[in-house]
């Protein structure tokens, strides 16, 4: 039987990326995937005839340009198209349109608050400055601050230098930023609630925090630090849906000689004498490999596919207590026509981008309260995009599909487990809210796919349906991700690594975790590095 140099568990985008770089170093690699399709949460699926949903993740800005370029993902079919013009809807019928050009956007902000229109320039400069720093850490392995190894010291010095470049005042600001709430952070800039709510949305997406919870300011930064072609904060759509990203990476992997097996869920990681030696599949088949790389989240890796007796003390407990709370839902809707929203001018550049149903900071916080009590709000925060208005490949001509991301949706309900009926009620809540802003919306619905944390966990394998593979709070970031002492992609068992979003720099379709892990593995194997440098250092 074939003995692989490396087995990667999970064909999500990070697993595929990791495998591609190992294969490029001439390793014999195999990616095993439990589903009959690849991509994990970066996937496109024809759930309804002629409609191709990006079932989970739906927009992209964190995918590192340097990886895209190095793996030649365009040749493998990937095109990222920036989308423009998001409208946010306030509780009182107000709308806030994010016009693409600075002039019209400034005028729009002024119509809400002249004060805030001016303040927006300061916010954007500040966010850019913070983003530039954090971006430089994305494709680097976090240094262990307690280590005296030359490489850790060198990396600590790099961070110190970058921090030093911020200036004294900014150093304080940056530390505050990591611990503040999104709402408090925005209070320093703005007076208008809709403007604050609009920006605060990025502070709660995917996370079990409210706009007033400490730590949500960092989540906001995490969502604006990406870029499309150097335009920081911009978002793009993958032509053909998010699955096009995974497909392209898989193409690069196969070109480098790597293999992928679907319908091959892992039952257990095999450990012998404290070393990982392979995996057992759910069908009982054993596959041996010199190293095993888990692209599953930290909790699933150590509590589901590993045996506690194989783990050094403390790891199982750390994994069990790893913060990976389910807080989001996703409703994908096939539409017979483009929906029309009340109160918007007849402007196609604005009407077909994204929609943010944020309401107000108060509404968003009330939705969080519901989550805490184990239910969902009647008035949730919804972030929507209509990819078919941009991408001609995802719906029949003239028809559309709308991606709706809902914050919040609990993974465990107070009144007992999720049932198909409760799932549909949740979906109905979302449709009802959109109908309020778009009368007649319900009549356009051709098909609907409702995904609560229950479906996301069971289909994709993300514990509790947490989209980041673990909360992005300071206690679980940088050298603390996933656990203190294990931030360098090597796990407590020899020859075992992690490459998913549970590792630094966390969630998002960025490929960073995958490449960082590949670089560490190649160092251990004394192989030449195949991972490119990031291209953000001269920003």
């Amino acid at each position: 039987m074939k003995n692989y140099d490396a087995i990667i568990i999970g064909a999500g985008h990070n697993g595929l990326t990791n495998a591609a770089y190992l294969a490029r170093a001439d390793l014999n690699v195999l990616v095993v995937e439990k589903n009959d399709y690849i991509g994990g949460a970066a996937v496109t699926r024809e759930i309804h005839d002629g409609w191709f949903y990006s079932s989970c993740s739906y927009v992209c800005s964190m995918m590192r340009q340097s990886i895209h370029r190095d793996l030649d993902l365009t040749r493998h079919g990937l095109i990222l198209v920036p989308y423009l013009g998001t409208v946010n809807f306030g509780d009182n019928g107000e709308t806030l349109s994010a016009y693409h050009a600075e002039g019209p956007y400034y005028n729009e902000l002024r119509s809400h608050s002249p004060h805030d229109a001016d303040a927006m320039f300061r916010l954007q400069a500040d966010l850019n400055r913070y983003a530039q720093l954090i971006r430089k850490t994305l494709m680097r392995t976090p240094p262990d601050p307690t280590s005296l190894k030359p490489r850790d010291i060198k990396e600590m010095l790099f961070l110190a230098k970058e921090f030093g470049n911020l200036g004294e005042k900014e150093f304080y600001e940056y530390v505050r930023f990591f611990t503040m709430s999104a709402a408090e952070f925005l209070d320093d800039y703005f007076e208008n609630d809709l403007i604050k709510a609009t920006i605060a949305g990025a502070g709660i997406i995917g996370t079990a925090l409210g706009v007033y919870s400490p730590g949500s300011a960092y989540i906001l930064l995490h969502h604006v630090m990406g870029d499309v072609d150097g335009s920081i904060g911009a978002w793009g759509l993958a032509r053909g849906g998010m699955g096009a990203i995974s497909k392209a990476i898989a193409g690069a992997l196969k070109e480098a000689g790597g293999e992928i097996r679907v319908n091959a869920g892992v039952q257990q990681i095999l450990v012998k004498n404290g070393r990982a030696i392979g995996v057992v599949l759910e069908n009982g088949e054993e596959i041996n490999a010199s190293i095993v790389v888990s692209n599953l989240d930290a909790k699933r890796t150590f509590t589901k596919v590993m045996d506690k007796k194989d783990l050094p003390e403390g790891i199982y407990e750390k994994a069990k207590n790893f913060k990976i709370r389910g807080s989001s839902g996703k409703v994908n809707i096939a539409l017979s026509a483009l929906p029309k929203f009340t109160g918007l001018p007849d402007n196609k550049y604005i009407n077909r981008g994204g929609q943010g149903f944020c309401g107000s900071l108060e509404t968003m916080e009330r939705a969080y309260d519901c989550w805490k009590r184990g239910t969902w709000s009647d008035d949730p925060f919804i972030e929507s995009v209509i990819p078919s208005a941009w991408d001609p490949t995802v719906a029949p001509p003239g028809k559309h599909w709308m991606s709706n991301f809902i914050q919040y949706c609990p993974s465990e309900l107070a009144d007992g487990p999720w049932t198909p009926e409760k799932r549909d009620q949740f979906g109905q809540t979302v449709v009802n809210k959109i109908e309020r802003y778009s009368p007649g919306f319900k009549d356009l619905i051709v098909h609907m796919e409702v995904r609560t944390p229950y479906e996301i966990e069971n289909e994709i394998g993300l514990t509790e349906g947490n989209i980041f593979q673990g909360e992005l709070t300071i206690d679980q970031l940088l050298f603390n991700r996933p656990f203190p002492g294990y931030s360098q992609y090597r796990m407590p068992i020899k020859n075992m690594y992690m490459c998913g979003s549970s590792t630094h720099p966390g969630g998002g379709v960025s490929s960073c975790c995958g490449v960082n892990a590949a670089r560490e593995i190649l160092i251990d194997l004394k192989k030449p590095n195949t991972v490119p440098e990031d291209d953000c250092y001269d920003e």
């Binding site: 365009t74 920036p82 001609p392």
Partner: protein, 398 residues
């Protein structure tokens, strides 16, 4: 077109599509091409570029020069003028050509449409009537007519263009091959379509009499609505053509007839257009000089570069070493390619130095401060963007 506005005498000419285009030019961003008012961009250059790569867009080529060349000697006259052998060109086909001075310096490039056995259309970027007249001396029975102002034209480019034309009910459009010309029943005067373009992607050029121009526009835009149609201007065109590896006057080459300084113009070999020069033809303008250029090797060679990092090498000098002590050329066009995700450029590099290292000294600005870096370049033989969908017949239907 006339206008009763003040200073009408000094204003630019308006294309037959102007009314529709002006309504969509939200940024009032206008430029000028051959005396016509002409959009730099309408909404956002990058957005329009992405329409060409992702959906479809229209580019007003009314200001492009169009000449009808007819008569018994039309073919002979053109064959004498251009470097390519157009006796091989079949009816209802289009070919890309260039023409030179007797010294072998390039005057312009363009396309020749063979509309009938004795009927050709020549299109090019700059007015060329004077040269055409000169080139026709000695050829009897050649009529040259400038039809620029009467034949409206739209370049229609991008992956969904075929679907739009098909949905418009143009019968047989699915059979039209690259560089082929077809005629379709449309409006009163009919529609000529060539499967040509300047973007390297699937695309067509639509030719129609001025009076029916708006009817064509309205039809395209009503059907195209569901296929992401958008007008695009000069900026997006320039991005797309650079990815496709096409040259632009006053970027890659200086038209020979307008060049003051000896050798500030180029030969086709320098522009990497040697494949357009057919020495099997016994006589054509510049043949002797070009033979010599080919034999000696051109001083410069236009080269496609992939440059490390993401700072476009606009206006950069090219060096043969990282220390920048050996200057070997200059960048003619450069950009970050959003589709390919690469830092691309075309550069004129001294042919003798093509084999060695190539470095670009790149200047860039951040918040009023100037920075520079030296970036390694690698030569690309193929165009940066050449998707297979551009060549498929029938094309993909959306």
């Amino acid at each position: 077109m006339t206008t009763d506005r003040k200073f009408a005498d000094e204003r630019l000419k308006l294309s037959p599509f102007h009314d529709r285009q002006a309504a969509l030019n939200l940024r009032d961003s206008w430029s000028v091409w051959n005396g016509y008012k002409f959009a730099e961009y309408y909404y956002d250059a990058e957005y329009e570029y992405f329409c060409v790569r992702n959906t479809c867009g229209t580019y007003d080529i009314c200001p492009m020069q169009k000449y009808l060349i007819q008569g018994d000697n039309a073919e002979a006259m053109l064959n004498r003028m251009v470097t390519r052998d157009i006796t091989k060109l079949q009816e209802n086909r289009v070919t890309y050509v260039c023409w030179c001075t007797n010294e072998g310096r390039m005057i312009d490039d363009g396309t020749i449409f063979k509309l009938g056995p004795k009927k050709f259309m020549l299109t090019c970027g700059s007015p060329s009537l004077a040269w055409l007249k000169k080139a026709s001396f000695g050829f009897d029975a050649v009529e040259i007519e400038d039809i620029t102002d009467t034949l409206a034209a739209l370049s229609f480019q991008g992956p969904t263009t075929f679907s739009v034309l098909k949905a418009m009910g143009l019968k047989g459009i699915e059979d039209l091959k690259p560089f082929q010309i077809g005629y379709f029943d449309f409006a009163e005067s009919g529609l000529m379509i060539s499967r040509t373009g300047f973007t390297g992607d699937l695309g067509y050029e639509l030719w129609i009499q001025n009076k029916d121009a708006l009817e064509l526009w309205d039809k395209l835009y009503s059907i195209g609505e569901d296929y992401g149609i958008q007008p695009y201007g000069e900026s997006a065109t320039n991005m797309a053509r650079l990815e496709a590896g096409f040259i632009m006057p006053y970027m890659e080459f200086n038209e020979a007839l307008k060049t003051v300084h000896y050798q500030h113009d180029q030969t086709p070999f320098e522009l990497n257009l040697g494949w357009l020069v057919d020495f099997n033809k016994p006589l054509f303008n510049g043949r002797k000089a070009l033979l010599l250029d080919k034999k000696n090797g051109p001083k410069y060679t236009l080269t496609k570069l992939d440059i490390e990092g993401n700072k476009p090498a606009e206006g950069s000098y090219i060096y043969g070493d990282k220390k920048c002590s050996l200057e070997i050329g200059y960048v003619t066009s450069a950009m970050w390619s959003p589709a390919v995700k690469a830092n691309i450029a075309m550069a004129m590099i001294e042919t003798e130095h093509l084999q060695g290292e190539i470095w670009a000294e790149i200047y860039y600005e951040k918040e009023l401060r100037q920075y520079d870096k030296v970036a390694r370049c690698s030569i690309k033989e193929k165009p940066f963007w050449a998707p297979s969908r551009a060549r498929m017949t029938p094309p993909e239907n959306y």
